[in-house]
């Protein structure tokens, strides 16, 4: 059950979009494909949907090999970044589209559309046109349209990418709740690690057409298996071979073992968090993350000399292995 991709490859001219990709998406799960632009995540989603044909490999959806099944018959719901709303149809007709081309009875369609409007909180908007909706409302309509045909899998391509930061956060929460309600196997593509962490149960990190790592959000953050994942799923400082998360960088006011002398260049206040930017003796820069209260308690200020010490850091061996070094003696 669920979705499995087996050895999928895809080239566009000389550009390798996907290189021998294999993933397993458990039935009913919510999985994120995370990666920078050009990493192949959207291509992979489109290959699963059947909007793109892979050069090699198989796509299996709910135990059915769908590699050669056209998109029309794949039973996938697809949601696009820019909504792809049918501009000339009302919200109601947009949602009803899949059912009406299947020639379902009018009554059944009406009932189903009403349910879906409720599900996506668009009751009362049935007779509006997409141009009369906000971006967030259009995307919810697009989601309802995709769900109307009861797809086996739901595929979302950067669904919140075109929305304001606030709406994006709201829809994120809403999508997670929706998934708990409908429980359809869902894959969504995003380049925003916070979004992936917030919404997904499983994250597939992609880079340059390959999979870097697959795992639960917490796993990826705590145990990244490559430098790329370490840098992509969260902020990171690099000091020689050490990779240090900014919140793992401790600031002391007196010299200590393993602590380096540094000057505070700047303190940035971000709500409850403070970002302390440090300049080391050799000219390298690091930054430490702490709560504003901590920074105030220590009376940190720009120009001060302090001592920075990583609590732990990650080292990636050339062989591909990685280890965590516990450095704080305390």
């Amino acid at each position: 059950m669920g979705i499995s991709v087996k050895g999928a490859s895809k080239k566009f001219g000389d550009f390798v979009a996907l290189e021998d990709i294999s993933i397993e998406v458990p039935d009913g799960s919510l999985t994120a494909l995370l990666g920078p632009s050009g990493s192949g995540k959207s291509t992979l989603l489109r290959v699963i949907a059947g909007l793109e044909q892979p050069d090699a490999g198989r796509i299996v959806i709910s135990d059915r090999d769908t590699t050669d099944v056209p998109v029309q018959d794949r039973g996938v719901g697809f949601v696009f970044q820019h909504y792809a709303a049918f501009k000339h149809m009302t919200v109601k007709n947009n949602i009803a589209f899949g059912l009406s081309i299947r020639k379902r009875p009018r009554k059944e369609i009406d009932t189903r559309v009403r349910e879906l409007l409720q599900l996506v909180h668009l009751d009362g908007f049935a007779d509006r046109y997409p141009s009369q909706l906000s971006g967030g409302q259009r995307q919810r309509m697009a989601l309802a349209r995709a769900l109307a045909v009861e797809p086996e899998v739901l595929l979302l391509d950067e669904p919140f990418g075109a929305l304001d930061a606030n709406v994006r956060k709201e829809l994120r929460v809403w999508l997670r709740r929706l998934h708990e309600e409908v429980h359809v196997t869902t894959i969504f593509v995003t380049h925003d690690q916070e979004e992936a962490m917030d919404v997904a149960e499983q994250i597939v990190v992609m880079n340059e057409g390959r999979i870097e790592q697959t795992g639960a959000p917490r796993d990826l953050y705590d145990h990244p298996s490559t430098e790329f994942v370490m840098g992509f799923v969260g902020p990171v400082n690099r000091r020689g071979a050490l990779f240090i998360r900014p919140h793992d960088l401790e600031i002391l006011q007196v010299p200590a073992v393993e602590a380096e002398e540094a000057m505070i260049e700047r303190i940035v206040h971000l709500g409850f968090e403070a970002r302390v930017e440090l300049l080391l003796a050799d000219g390298e820069q690091l930054w430490a993350q702490m709560t504003l209260a901590e920074a105030e308690l220590m009376e940190l200020a720009a120009g001060q000399i302090v001592y920075a010490r990583p609590r732990h850091a990650k080292v990636f061996e050339p062989s591909g292995a990685s280890r965590t070094e516990e450095l704080a003696a305390a």
């Binding site: 719901g77 697809f78 501009k87 000339h88 589209f97 899949g98 081309i101 697009a142 109307a148 045909v149």
Partner: protein, 278 residues
């Protein structure tokens, strides 16, 4: 520095000193004056001329068998031409936008040639090709089919050129969305693409219709000066030559009225087809 910046900010741009209403009135005034000089006054003069001999004379010249048959002919032919144009024009625009093939750019440029060619030349060319001495074995000289052919030639670019940019801008993801919802290519075309092209198709159709109604040059030779192929524009010319200027004016005004009614109808349709954009 501050004071300089201050004065600059205080001085509004020249145009802003005009009151808003004044600027709007100026624009409207210019448009009205221009349209009056170029279009409205000549048409008013035409209307005055046509009714110069009284309404009776107007009616008599309009109901003469020649005038009636000419009006009927042009109406039927224009409708046929517009219908053909809507289909082939949309198809040509489709091919030019969606397909890629060698020579596409050249083909794209060829579309506008009927605009550049003096229409009399178009008439002669068509007559040479599809006339009595046709090298391809098609002889439609001096028939109504020839009228249709000539009008198809001169109205070719309208639908193509109005549909092309809209098709180019059309959101391809709408089609992918339709496909993912189970729609085959035909259903997608009928239910998603076509409704989005309708306003542009109608705009092209309106232009083509108006052009067809008044076409003269390409038909002069092709119609062979026979009553069965005499369109109003040719009849008007004949009437002017024989000194019947009132009759010519009456027929012209009628032609204009028909065109106006049809354009208004198409305008209504366009308005309806754009209801989603309001």
């Amino acid at each position: 520095m501050t004071s300089v910046a201050g004065t600059r900010a205080a001085a509004p741009p020249r145009l802003a000193r005009w009151p808003r209403l004044g600027r709007a009135a100026l624009g409207r005034g210019l448009v009205t004056a221009y349209l009056s000089l170029i279009v409205l006054i000549p048409i008013a003069a035409l209307v005055a001329k046509s009714t110069g001999g009284g309404l009776d004379a107007f009616w008599t010249s309009l109901t003469s068998p020649l005038a009636v048959s000419a009006l009927k002919l042009i109406l039927v032919v224009s409708v046929i031409v517009v219908v053909i144009n809507v289909i082939t024009g949309t198809a040509i625009a489709w091919v030019l936008v969606r397909d890629s093939f060698p020579g596409k750019r050249i083909l794209n440029s060829v579309i506008d040639l009927p605009f550049a060619l003096p229409t009399v030349v178009a008439g002669i060319t068509l007559l040479a090709l599809y006339g009595t001495a046709s090298p391809v074995g098609i002889d439609v000289a001096f028939t109504r089919a020839a009228v249709v052919l000539a009008l198809l030639f001169v109205t070719l670019p309208f639908v193509v050129r109005s549909v092309q940019p809209v098709l180019l801008e059309l959101d391809r993801e709408m089609e992918e969305a339709a496909a993912s919802l189970g729609a085959g290519p035909l259903t997608t075309f009928r239910r998603v693409i076509l409704p989005n092209l309708t306003p542009a198709i109608l705009a092209g159709a309106a232009l083509a219709f108006a052009r067809a109604m008044g076409e003269f040059g390409s038909l002069v030779l092709l119609s062979g000066n026979l009553p069965k192929t005499q369109v109003p524009s040719l009849l008007i010319f004949a009437q002017i030559e024989s000194g019947n200027t009132t009759g010519a004016a009456a027929l012209s005004v009628t032609l204009l009225l028909i065109a106006l009614v049809v354009l208004l109808l198409i305008g209504r349709l366009t308005h309806w087809s754009l209801r989603h954009a309001r």
